[in-house]
C-alpha cells in the first residue's frame, strides 16, 4: 500500500520532468518565437524541483526528521543573516553541503532549496529565486549522493575542495546563466555569456573562498553534531 503510493508520486514527478519540460521548451520556441528565455527557464527551474518535493512528501517523513531539517534550514538562514554586510561571503553553501552530507541527498535538496527561498523572504524575492533554490538544492543533493557513493568522505580537505568547486563552478555557472537570461532576455549570444561569466568571476571567487573558510572551521564539528543527534535520537535511517 505504502509502496504503491510512493510510486504514484514518483510517477507524477517523472511526468513533470520528462513530459512537461520539453513541452514548455516547445511552446517557447514555437509560440513565442524563441523570445521568452527567462520566463521559460524560470518555469523549468520550478518544475525540476517538483520531483524532489514529491519524493519528500511521498516518504511521509517522521516528525523528528522534519524538525531536524527545519533546524538546518533555519541555521542556514541565520548564517546568511549574520554576514549580511559582506556580499557573497556567506556560510550558506557550507551549511547546505554539510546538511546534505549528514542527512542524505533528499533532505539535502530540501534544506538547500527552502533555505534560499526563506532567506530571499528577508533579502528580496525576485525572478532569480527559482534558480537559486534549484542550485542550492542541487548542491545539497550532490553532497549526499557523493557520500552515498563513498566518493566524498568525512575529511576536512575533501569537503573544502568539494565546497569550493560547488561554489565556483556549479552554483556560479547556474546563477550566471540565469542572469544572462534575465538581463538580455532574448538575444543570448556567446559575447553576453562570456561577459557575464567574466563579471561574475570575482563574486564566485569570494563565494568559493568563504565556503572553504566556513567548511574548514564548521565542517567536521557540525557533521559530528548531526551524527550524534542521529545516534542519540534514532534517526539513523536518514
Amino acid at each position: 500500500m505504502e509502496e504503491k503510493r510512493i510510486s504514484k508520486r514518483t510517477l507524477v514527478a517523472s511526468v513533470f520532468i520528462f513530459l512537461l519540460v520539453p513541452v514548455i521548451i516547445f511552446v517557447g520556441v514555437v509560440f513565442f518565437d524563441d523570445r521568452a528565455y527567462y520566463p521559460i527557464s524560470m518555469v523549468i527551474a520550478f518544475l525540476s524541483m517538483a520531483p524532489f518535493f514529491m519524493v519528500f512528501e511521498g516518504r511521509k517523513p517522521r516528525s523528528r526528521e522534519m524538525v531536524v531539517i527545519a533546524v538546518m534550514i533555519a541555521i542556514t538562514v541565520v548564517g546568511r543573516m549574520a554576514f549580511f554586510m559582506v556580499p557573497q561571503f556567506k556560510p550558506t553553501m557550507a551549511i547546505v553541503i554539510i546538511s546534505g552530507f549528514s542527512l542524505g541527498p533528499e533532505s539535502g535538496f530540501i534544506v538547500g532549496s527552502l533555505a534560499s527561498f526563506i532567506s530571499n523572504l528577508f533579502f528580496g524575492q525576485g525572478p532569480w529565486t527559482p534558480w537559486q533554490m534549484f542550485a542550492f538544492g542541487l548542491m545539497g543533493f550532490l553532497a549526499g549522493w557523493l557520500k552515498k557513493l563513498n566518493l566524498l568522505e568525512r575529511n576536512r580537505i575533501q569537503l573544502c575542495i568539494f565546497g569550493a568547486l560547488c561554489a565556483m563552478f556549479l552554483y556560479g555557472i547556474m546563477v550566471d546563466i540565469a542572469s544572462v537570461f534575465m538581463m538580455t532576455s532574448s538575444n543570448v549570444t556567446a559575447d553576453t555569456v562570456k561577459a557575464t561569466f567574466v563579471s561574475g568571476f570575482p563574486l564566485n571567487a569570494v563565494h568559493a573562498l568563504a565556503t572553504i573558510i566556513f567548511m574548514a572551521l564548521l565542517g567536521i564539528p557540525m557533521i559530528k553534531k548531526l551524527e550524534r543527534i542521529k545516534i542519540k535520537f534514532g534517526l539513523m535511517e536518514i
Binding site: M66, V68, V78, M81, A82
Partner: protein, 297 residues
C-alpha cells in the same frame, strides 16, 4: 485618509494566480503599452503598500538593475539595422538601445510585482495555499520560519554571556573574532538540534500525522473571491486569446515594427491595464466605501 490594503484580504489562491498571471504576461509579451501598464501598476501599488520604504527599494535595487540592463544590451548586441555610431568597429544600434530600455522596464516591473507579492502574501497564507498539496514541506517551511527569530535571540544570549567572560565578539584580532563567532554559532547549533527533538516529540504526542492538518488561518473561498476570480479569469482569457493571435507584439530586430492597431489589440491593452491596476482600484474603492460608512456614524 485611512490607508488599508483590502486587496490582500482576498483568498490566497486567487492572489497567487493573480501575481503569476501578471508576472508571466509581463515577461513574455513584448509591447510598450503592456510594459508601461505593468510597470506603472506595480510601482503605484508598491508605493501604496510600503509608502516611503518603496522608494528606497526602487532607488537602491531596481534602478541599478535597470541601468545595468540598459547598458549591457546595446554593448553586446549588434543586431538591428539603424547603426547610430561605432565603438571598436562594432555598431551600436538604435534597435539594441530601445530593446535594452524595454528589457530594463520589464525587469523592473517583474521585481516590483515580486516585492508586492512578498508584502501581502504573509507566510500563513502561503502555508494555507500549499498545505494540501505539500503538507510536510509547508510544515517544514513554517517551522523553519519560527526557528529563525528563536535562534537569533539565542545567539544574542550566548554572545552576551561570553562577553561577560571577556570573550567579546567585537574585540580582538579578526581571527579571534571569527573563532569567537564560530564558538557562539556552534553552541547554538547544538542547542537547536537538541531542542528540536523536544519539539518533534511534542508534535508526535499531540497527534501529528494521525489526521488532517489544520492551518492557523482559514480562508474560505467566498462569494467575493468567486466574483473577483471569475472577472479576472475572463479578462485573462481574453488577453491570452488576443495575444495568441499576436495582435499586440512589437518587433525589435532587425528593425522596429508594430503590428497594426486593431480592435483586439485595444481591448487587450485596456483589459491588461485594468488587471495591473486592479489592486489599487479595489483598495481605493474600499477606502471610499469605508469613509462613506464612517461619515454616516
Amino acid at each position: 485618509m485611512d490607508k488599508r490594503d483590502s486587496f490582500s484580504g482576498y483568498n490566497p489562491l486567487f492572489l497567487i494566480a493573480f501575481f503569476l498571471f501578471t508576472v508571466l504576461v509581463t515577461m513574455i509579451v513584448r509591447h510598450p503599452v503592456l510594459g508601461a501598464a505593468s510597470f506603472s501598476g506595480s510601482l503605484f501599488y508598491l508605493i501604496y503598500l510600503k509608502g516611503k520604504k518603496a522608494f528606497s527599494l526602487v532607488f537602491k535595487i531596481i534602478l541599478p538593475v535597470m541601468i545595468l540592463t540598459m547598458i549591457i544590451n546595446p554593448a553586446f548586441s549588434h543586431k538591428g539595422v539603424t547603426a547610430l555610431f561605432y565603438v571598436n568597429n562594432n555598431p551600436i544600434t538604435l534597435e539594441a538601445i530601445l530593446y535594452g530600455l524595454y528589457s530594463a522596464f520589464m525587469l523592473g516591473a517583474v521585481i516590483m510585482w515580486f516585492s508586492a507579492y512578498n508584502e501581502i502574501m504573509t507566510t500563513d497564507k502561503f502555508v494555507y495555499a500549499f498545505g494540501r498539496l505539500l503538507p510536510a514541506l509547508s510544515l517544514v517551511f513554517s517551522m523553519a520560519l519560527r526557528f529563525i527569530p528563536r535562534f537569533n535571540s539565542h545567539i544574542r544570549t550566548v554572545s552576551n554571556a561570553r562577553r561577560s567572560l571577556g570573550e567579546d565578539l567585537e574585540k580582538g584580532s579578526i581571527m579571534k573574532r571569527i573563532r569567537n563567532g564560530i564558538t557562539v554559532f556552534s553552541s547554538t547549533v547544538t542547542w537547536a538540534l537538541e531542542n528540536s527533538v523536544d519539539t518533534a516529540d511534542a508534535m508526535t504526542s499531540r497527534g501529528y500525522g494521525t489526521g488532517h492538518r489544520t492551518t492557523y488561518a482559514t480562508y474560505r473561498f467566498d462569494k467575493r473571491d468567486g466574483i473577483i476570480s471569475a472577472v479576472v479569469l475572463a479578462a485573462a482569457v481574453c488577453v491570452v486569446i488576443f495575444l495568441a493571435r499576436d495582435s499586440l507584439y512589437m518587433q525589435f530586430y532587425p528593425s522596429i515594427e508594430f503590428n497594426p492597431i486593431t480592435a483586439g489589440s485595444v481591448i487587450t491593452a485596456v483589459l491588461f491595464t485594468i488587471i495591473c491596476f486592479l489592486p489599487l482600484i479595489i483598495d481605493f474603492q474600499e477606502n471610499i466605501k469605508w469613509r462613506y460608512l464612517t461619515s454616516r456614524i
